[in-house]
């Protein structure tokens, strides 16, 4: 059974409609990658899953329950975590405080979990008392993802986790995402670095103008000459 599924979702900001009936379906434990040109509505799709834009048509089902238009707090409690595309760390808070804020909604002892997050992102351990704003771009992304992991999500929504990173850092982040996925976390990720992302994806979704253009396994999309020509830069 699918963990998350969007069917014919329409959403937008104020008047303008951005998503014109998109579908997405991921089974538990899968990595799904959403690619497409700038302004296609990729970020809006993640925001729609996290209750940050109003869905006017269609439904979002998570773990068999209708979660359409539920508030972010409610979705966190159900085990969905979201890492925004920009401004995704508290710059003036230390790395450690960022992670603690990730666990804000928890009332239990989460120190073992903190250790686990530091194990996933070893560079953060040495910088734990440094303000997150002083870190390099790659390490900031680690803080952002680490913060989201603090609710022990079943589904993590990542918006361009490798944006602006050097190739070295990029593969480092993709490695970490694979490691997180290996612990059973379902990943829905938007990526500009489409080839590398599709290479680790179970499923790929090519979006254009708020609609699904291609949907297939990651490797099938990479092999499709039409996808390659229009969306992967030839």
């Amino acid at each position: 059974m699918s963990l998350i599924s969007l069917s014919q979702v329409e959403a937008g900001y104020g008047g303008a409609s951005i998503l014109n009936g998109v579908d997405l379906e991921l089974n538990a434990g899968e990595i799904g990658v959403i690619v497409g040109p700038n302004g296609a509505g990729k970020s809006t799709m993640l925001k729609a899953m996290f209750g940050l834009v109003k869905i006017s048509q269609g439904t979002v089902i998570f773990d068999g329950e209708d979660i359409t238009n539920l508030a972010p707090e409610n979705l966190s409690r159900r085990g969905i975590a979201f890492v925004p595309q920009e401004n995704n760390v508290f710059r003036t808070l230390t790395v450690h405080e960022n992670l603690e804020m990730g666990a804000y909604v928890r009332r239990d002892d989460y120190s073992a979990l903190l250790d686990r997050v530091y194990d996933i992102f070893p560079p953060l351990k040495a910088k734990r008392n440094q303000p997150a704003g002083e870190l390099s771009g790659g390490q900031r992304q680690m803080v952002a993802v680490g913060r989201a992991l603090m609710i022990e999500p079943r589904l993590i929504l990542l918006d361009e986790p490798t944006a602006g990173l050097s190739p070295l850092f990029m593969s480092e982040i993709f490695d970490r995402i694979l490691a997180i996925n290996a612990t059973g976390v379902t990943v829905a990720m938007v990526e500009q670095n489409a080839r590398q992302a599709l290479a680790i994806a179970h499923k790929g979704f090519v979006l254009a103008q708020g609609r699904n253009r291609f949907t297939d396994s990651g490797s099938a999309l990479l092999a499709d000459p039409e996808v390659a020509k229009s969306f992967l830069g030839g």
Partner: protein, 330 residues
């Protein structure tokens, strides 16, 4: 030496006292700005309201024949601070929260807070009259003289208590913001409200904490200011400008900056009106006869005291609009 102690009494003590008042006010203004993103112009009147709560409670207890070795207004501070915190939350609930819920822009909230100022000023006059009141209902204002072998250092009881409580409040605030879950959440909201929402931090709780801190510190400042001078309806409205100068000087949204800004503005104000010829007079014998030290050597005449924070404000806004502590702490 006598002259130096005169300087300590008139310049330094005065500056620290008014600086403490400004610091306590500016911390509230800066926290409210950091969390709710608007300049709270009614903050001065929250201070005055706090002082009136203290007076009313002390008068009530005195009427019931209650007495104590310390002035009742000081003993009642915890109660008064709590009451003013509730009062501040109430103002937010009634006036600001409905606006925020409708997505009002910050400038609308600023205007609303000016409205709240006018309303509070009217209410305070309506209930308490327009005259000045003495806060010492049961015990007189104690004055301490610290002998130095020369002239005594003179400081009053409310001044000592004010400075001590200000330091204690700043330390407590620091520990709260850096150690507690809620304090860190306040910093997170101030840093990045959108991310705070995504993270599940409750803006309601953080907003309430902000008014509790702002309101109780305003009550402390207002009550102690009224005890240092007298209780008047325009007690704190008149010091709104220096409080905003201190806030901006320290970098809006930065509580430690606000404290430093408060003391800087307070000390510069007192030193600017201080008559420095008193300090120079002992040098007269060694100066050539033609160099007569003038009778008054202050930077600014006392009546123009309020010009000092205004001047600081203008200079900061022109040369360093982000405040002197940009990029630090909060």
């Amino acid at each position: 030496m006598n002259e130096l102690i005169f300087f300590v009494n008139k310049g330094l003590v005065g500056g620290l006292v008014i600086g403490s008042i400004y610091a306590l006010g500016a911390v509230g203004v800066t926290l409210i700005f950091g969390i709710l993103r608007f300049a709270h112009f009614a903050h001065g009147d929250v201070m005055t309201a706090g002082a009136f709560f203290a007076y009313a409670l002390a008068a009530l207890l005195t009427a019931f024949g209650f007495s104590a070795p310390l002035p009742l207004a000081i003993l009642l501070l915890p109660v008064v601070m709590a009451a003013t915190a509730v009062f501040a939350i109430g103002i937010d609930r009634v006036f600001y929260e409905p606006l925020r819920a409708r997505g009002a822009r910050p400038v609308v909230l600023v205007m609303a807070s000016i409205g709240v100022t006018l309303m509070l000023q009217g209410l305070i006059r309506l209930i308490g009259g327009t005259g000045a009141r003495d806060m010492y209902l049961n015990a007189p204002k104690a004055i301490y003289r610290i002998p130095t072998g020369f002239r005594d250092i003179v400081i009053t009881q409310p001044q000592v208590i004010l400075i001590a409580l200000t330091i204690a409040s700043v330390v407590a605030l620091h520990l709260f913001l850096t150690r507690s879950r809620l304090g860190k959440a306040m910093r997170a909201v101030s840093d990045n409200p959108d991310l705070a929402r995504v993270t599940g931090i409750s803006l309601k709780t953080v907003t309430k904490a902000t008014w509790i801190i702002g309101g109780s510190l305003a009550a402390l400042a207002g009550t102690m200011l009224a005890m240092d001078v007298t209780l008047k309806p325009d007690l704190a409205y008149n010091i709104l400008l220096p409080i905003f100068a201190a806030t901006i000087l320290g970098g809006i949204g930065q509580p430690y900056g606000a404290v430093a800004g408060g003391y800087l503005v307070g000390l510069s104000e007192t030193l600017a009106v201080f008559n420095f010829s008193v300090l120079l007079r002992p040098l007269q014998p060694i100066l050539p006869a033609s160099w007569e030290i003038p009778a008054n050597l202050s930077f600014v005449p006392t009546e123009y005291r309020l010009v000092v924070p205004f001047f600081i404000l203008v200079v900061v806004l022109i040369y360093r609009p982000t405040g002197i502590f940009k990029g630090r702490v909060f």
